[in-house]
């Protein structure tokens, strides 16, 4: 019997523990906002796990050769405090093995009583949690869904390597200053009226704007990959997925977790920096063609950049804020910070996700939570209240654009038909996106309602009744406001 109610039989871990295949130790999270900096580890499936000091120390000493007693001895020397062999077995069986870090050491194989696994906070899952083949994986809130690859990992890494020299300081300085001068000229000397006139006179030019915007988005993602590569990390694939209700390009820069704060921020800002480069390319094209619509694309690119700086959803601004405070996954702090702020739990009863933060990080994250929670509640609430009306409008728009496309095809105006077809496809995709979002919300509500009162049938019944009542009220509201008519 080990203190704290844990019962560990010491004769069950007969083989020296070894790490699961593919596990990589990434070292400390640099420049972190935690009082005691955590360390990072990557599982064979790519899942990155943040571990507190003692867990990481034990994981680092596991090599398939050392027995728990030897690990305990070495860990004690490193810690400057005594860690016993039984405590090492406990950490391996209860904390590390369920995370898929240790090979062949399921919790029950270590003789842990069933009540022990629930004795501590255990691994926190980002979002509501998900388990694949017995291994927990992050299922974060407001994350990208339905991903498809545009540029596989090797190609994205090659693009990052190729474009890496653009992150040298003299190049950055020239790009920023030149863009500033260009903006001044566009806004004060040239103006946008000619571009708008061209667009209104010839709506087919919208196809050009759309194509350039797509290229700009892909170039933006290459900027993240190049920034990641410049810092010494390896970018993953570049692709397209569904974010909330919108199609979204993405780059997987998970490997940048192991970079310093400067390296992570370079990765975050790389996309915006490449937007500036793209703007200069557009300016060059304008110098050659004098097509005023290009100036319009430059302004749209600036608006896109400003939007990217918003920190409330997983745009670049979110990652910039996260890296400035040194705390990964801010959304995973929302509930702990709110709970910690409202409760007066004793120190050892506080959620370590909130209690372990340093004061500056805690202040910034609390302010962020106070802004993001009402904003998301209002936005999602409004979306739910107006969902059928918005989808109906989008659907009518898709139908209208389809009719126009047909008419233009009949009249042999193929470019205009393509513009209309694009509009129809986007409207239809938006409808699909809202339905996908709704399905996700329903799934989360159902799984959350099912898990919350675990082991308490009456509470589970109450949760089910509350969910059913909310759904019924929403449908009644949609009916009463006529949102389900005139489709």
């Amino acid at each position: 019997m080990i203190g704290g109610g844990a019962t560990v039989t010491t004769d069950t871990l007969t083989q020296p523990p070894r790490l699961a295949a593919g596990v990589q130790l990434l070292g400390k999270l640099e420049d972190s906002g935690f009082a005691e900096p955590p360390s990072l580890l990557r599982r064979g499936d790519g899942q990155v796990i943040q571990l507190p000091r003692i867990m990481y120390l034990v994981a680092r000493l596991i090599d398939g050769i050392k027995q728990p007693a030897e690990i305990a001895l070495l860990a004690s020397a490193d810690l400057g405090r005594t860690l016993t062999a039984d405590q090492v077995r406990y950490l391996i069986a209860v904390k590390l093995a369920p995370l898929g870090i240790v090979a062949g050491q399921p919790a029950d194989a270590a003789g842990i009583s069933s009540g022990t696994t629930g004795g501590g906070p255990g691994p926190h899952r980002a979002g509501t949690g998900a388990a694949l083949a017995g291994q927990p994986t992050a299922s974060p809130l407001l994350a990208l869904r339905a991903r498809a690859t545009l540029l596989p990992e090797a190609a994205a890494a090659a693009a990052g390597t190729l474009l890496r020299p653009l992150f040298h300081w003299p190049v950055i300085a020239v790009v920023v200053v030149t863009t500033g001068v260009l903006d001044y000229w566009v806004l004060t000397v040239s103006g946008l009226s000619a571009g708008l006139r061209q667009l209104l006179a010839n709506p087919v030019d919208l196809l050009l704007v759309a194509a350039l915007t797509i290229v700009s988005a892909l170039f933006h993602e290459c900027g993240h990959a190049a920034g990641c590569r410049y810092g010494g990390a390896r970018p993953g694939r570049i692709g397209i997925g569904l974010y909330l209700v919108w199609p979204s390009f993405f780059t997987n820069v998970t490997d940048s977790y192991r970079l310093s704060r400067a390296g992570r921020l370079r990765t975050d800002l790389g996309g915006l920096y490449f937007n500036l480069l793209f703007i200069l390319l557009l300016a060059g094209a304008y110098a050659v063609t004098s097509a005023p619509v290009l100036l319009l694309v430059i302004v749209i690119s600036h608006l896109e950049m400003l939007e990217q700086l918003l920190p409330f959803v997983r745009f670049d601004g979110y990652f910039i804020l996260s890296d400035l405070v040194g705390v990964p996954d801010l959304f995973n702090r929302v509930v702990p910070v709110v709970r910690d702020t409202l409760s007066r739990a004793a120190d050892d009863g506080r959620d370590p996700r909130a209690a372990g933060l340093r004061r500056p990080a805690r202040i910034v994250i609390t302010a962020w939570v106070l802004l993001v929670v009402p904003l998301l509640v209002i936005a999602l609430g409004y979306l739910l209240l107006r969902l059928p009306a918005a989808d109906r409008a989008l659907w009518h728009s898709a139908q209208r654009a389809t009719d126009l496309a047909r008419a233009n095809v009949s009249g042999h105006r193929y470019a205009a038909a393509a513009a209309d077809a694009l509009g129809a496809a986007l409207a239809a995709a938006s409808v699909a996106g809202t339905l996908y979002l709704l399905a996700g919300l329903v799934r989360r509500a159902l799984t959350g309602g099912w898990r919350w009162p675990a082991g308490r049938p009456r509470r589970r019944l109450a949760a089910a009744a509350a969910l059913a009542a909310c759904a019924a009220a929403l449908i009644l509201l949609w009916l009463a406001t006529g949102q389900l008519r005139n489709w």
């Binding site: 704290g4 810690l79 906070p121 993240h224 209700v245 820069v253």
Partner: protein, 61 residues
């Protein structure tokens, strides 16, 4: 070896790992109304774009 104190079991129970989500930088392809101009200024989180009324004309990404 200089060992100052023992690690308590309670301390180990409170040791808590976090599964970090993939870092995926996003660039949302949004919709613009050809007559209303880009609506993202109002659509601070991307949702409002589709909630701006009954006469939505999706045109350009």
């Amino acid at each position: 070896m200089s060992v100052e104190s023992s690690v308590s079991m309670r301390e180990l129970e409170l040791e808590s790992a976090e599964l970090l989500p993939n870092r995926e930088t996003l660039y949302v392809a949004k919709c613009y109304s050809p007559w209303g101009g880009p609506t993202q200024a109002a659509g601070a989180i991307g949702l409002v774009n589709i909630l701006s009324g009954d006469n939505i004309n999706v045109f350009v990404i």
